[in-house]
Amino acid sequence: MNPDGLSRLRQGVYRLLGAGTSHPTRELVAVAEATPLLLDELGLFDFSYAADLVDACGLIAQSDFELLAIEYVTLFEAGVTGIAYPAFESAYRADARTGQTAELVAEVRRTVLRYGLTLDEAKRDMIDHIGTELEIMAMLCRRESQRRREGKPTIKALMQQDEFLREHLLSWAPGYAMSVGRVEGHPVYSAIAKALAAFLEDERQLVPLLLAGERSD
């Protein structure tokens, strides 16, 4: 495994989990089976979350798309007394009654624009949705990989990853993932959530190590 392979691996895992935690697509179900093989080339099994990710991919590949879409809505979008497991950062970190939700969403938007990323305003999910936040991290990993291939310094891209992880994803997503991981009767989303929890715990430790390594070089 080389450093470029590592950033491409992380980009791939973020993208896969971003798709897995967003409204399901037929493309996700179609590519899930082959994804671990592709990620293995980049060093997937060097990391502790590999087994959970392979399990999740296997379950996604075996699932019926229509049923998966129903499960997604049941868990993350609908509910008689509210959404069972809201997949938004603001649902965990902001008090809607005091207007904090809008403030937090605006803060995520400002951060993303500061990173120089472009937002697709036509997307159905809010910017603080788990799938979107994971996609933002995928873009930052892609940027790191590109700069590495061009022989340019990657410290800024790593600092942005570190900041976004600490300020946003790690502040709520592990707890969210642990809750969804314990849900019974929804094995696909439970497996995706377990993989997400394991991956984020790995990232919590890996990104500071990468950053420290980059600073010492």
Partner: protein
């Protein structure tokens, strides 16, 4: 059956008959070849490598690819094996390790920086190596009562007490295991430093050697010269050892036990002094006990620091003083103690308990569950007046006496509601502290409970 695969770097040294184990050329350098060797149906795996130059991160990645949990695989260090008998013992120990391994959830793994042991490693990023990280069982943790033992003893500052709970920072943690053995209630667990695993491994070692083996604890990072008749038992850090952990192998049939800090240059965590104190206490017990009798049960060694184990092995007329833990005798001075119950509130093992009723307060002490943590002393508001003391001592007579009342105090009754006001000694102390002639305030405090003073 377990697949037993050993690196064939120096098989001649052991002269093992063919068929017992498989010697794999360059296993240390190319662990990924395991995928072509291990049968798919294999459920247990034991791997032997030369720790001095094997990249353990790459080895973990290779066994993970095979579908194993890397921390649940028996890994033996061929550099620590002195001879063929030692190899048989090490294989038995590695196989035994597999069964009690409890597994690690997300967040219970500590990622260590990729090891760089070969020239090739400098050209690439090696796979990270994982070790177990502590997790806190909130059902057992008594931080809400004020306990902060793990946070106090943690050498890296990874554990902190915040708002009545213990916060854990995995990035600061060095996975030394000290929090596991200092937790008075067993709330802190680490799958890589688990007492059940220790017991299973030691039993397997003793059985394999038919009792003729000694246990040498060594740190995860150290390389210790192999010695015939000694099995090297790896723990995260020898600083985590307690008197109980040192007594356990003897109780299980080992002929001797010792512990060495990091092989060269001292302990990188600065825990040599900690180990030295533990060894001093251990020697004190052994010096008095003569020999350790066989023990059917080793449960008393854990989770406490080993007080029950000490009582089990010492003669019935013993008095032994300790430098640190594992056992204590709390004394209360009736003339200065105000019976505020702070000591009983913070005591994590309920060695000190308070029993307040309408008539008064009774504080009881039971030496059999005291772990000499000293938190009662640290929290006593009348410490400077000598209200409480702690002797780190085992006294067989006191032990046999069991729980006893160490403080009794009357509590006046509220003139309004009939409820308790405060212990009489505390009211006296308040009176001493109040300056001037504010008799009106003192009278109010003495006659009415907190809820009724404003009426």
């Amino acid at each position: 059956m377990a697949a037993i695969l050993l690196c064939a770097d120096s098989p001649d040294r052991f002269d093992v008959p063919p068929g017992v184990v498989q010697w794999i050329p360059e296993l240390c350098d190319r662990p990924r070849q395991l995928a072509e060797i291990v049968p798919e149906e294999e459920t247990d795996l034991v791997v032997g490598v030369h720790r001095a130059h094997a990249n353990l991160g790459n080895l973990q990645a290779a066994v993970r690819r095979l579908g194993f949990d890397p921390l649940g695989v028996g890994v033996l260090d061929l550099d620590a094996v002195p001879d063929l008998q030692g190899l048989n013992i090490a294989v038995a120990a590695a196989r035994a390790w597999v069964s009690p391994y409890p597994g690690a959830d997300a967040g219970r793994l500590k990622m260590l920086s990729p090891e760089r042991k070969s020239r090739r490693d400098f050209l690439t990023v090696g796979a990270p190596r994982y070790v177990g990280a502590p997790g806190i069982d909130t059902e057992l943790c008594v931080a809400a009562n004020g306990c902060r033992m793990c946070a106090t003893e943690c050498p890296s500052g990874a554990l902190t007490r915040e708002g009545g709970r213990i916060a854990f920072d995995v990035n600061t943690c060095v996975a030394c295991g000290i929090c596991v053995t200092t937790c008075p209630t067993g709330a802190t667990r680490n799958p890589s430093a688990d007492f059940d695993s220790l017991e299973t491994v030691v039993r397997a070692v003793v059985e394999s050697a038919q009792g003729q083996v000694a246990i040498r604890y060594r740190c995860r990072e150290s390389v210790v010269e192999p010695e015939s008749g000694w099995y090297q038992l790896e723990v995260p850090c020898t600083g985590m050892l307690t008197v109980g952990w040192l007594l356990a192998p003897l109780g299980l049939g080992a002929v001797d036990v010792d512990a060495v800090p990091c092989g060269t240059g001292g302990c990188r965590l600065g825990n040599e002094e900690r180990l030295a104190v533990t060894m001093e206490d251990f020697s004190a017990v052994l010096g008095r006990a003569g020999e350790v009798p066989p023990l059917e049960m080793v449960e008393p060694f854990y989770p406490s620091s080993g007080g029950a184990a000490v009582a089990a092995v010492l003669p019935h007329d013993s008095i032994v003083d300790f430098v640190s833990a594992p056992i204590g005798l709390v004394t209360i001075d009736e003339t200065t103690c105000t019976a505020c119950e702070m000591c009983a509130t913070i005591c994590p093992t309920d060695a000190l308990i308070s029993d307040p009723d309408a008539m008064g307060v009774r504080i009881e002490f039971d030496p059999r569950v005291c772990v000499a943590c000293g938190q009662c002393v640290g929290t006593c508001p009348e410490l400077s007046a000598g209200a409480i003391g702690l002797n780190r001592r085992f006294d067989a007579g006191e032990w046999a006496l069991g729980a006893r009342v160490v403080r009794e105090e009357d509590v006046p009754v509220c003139e309004v509601c009939g409820g308790p006001v405060a212990p009489a000694a505390m009211l006296t102390r308040i009176q001493e502290m109040l300056t001037g002639d504010d008799t009106e305030t003192m009278a109010l405090i003495s006659r009415r409970c907190v809820d009724c003073r404003g009426r």
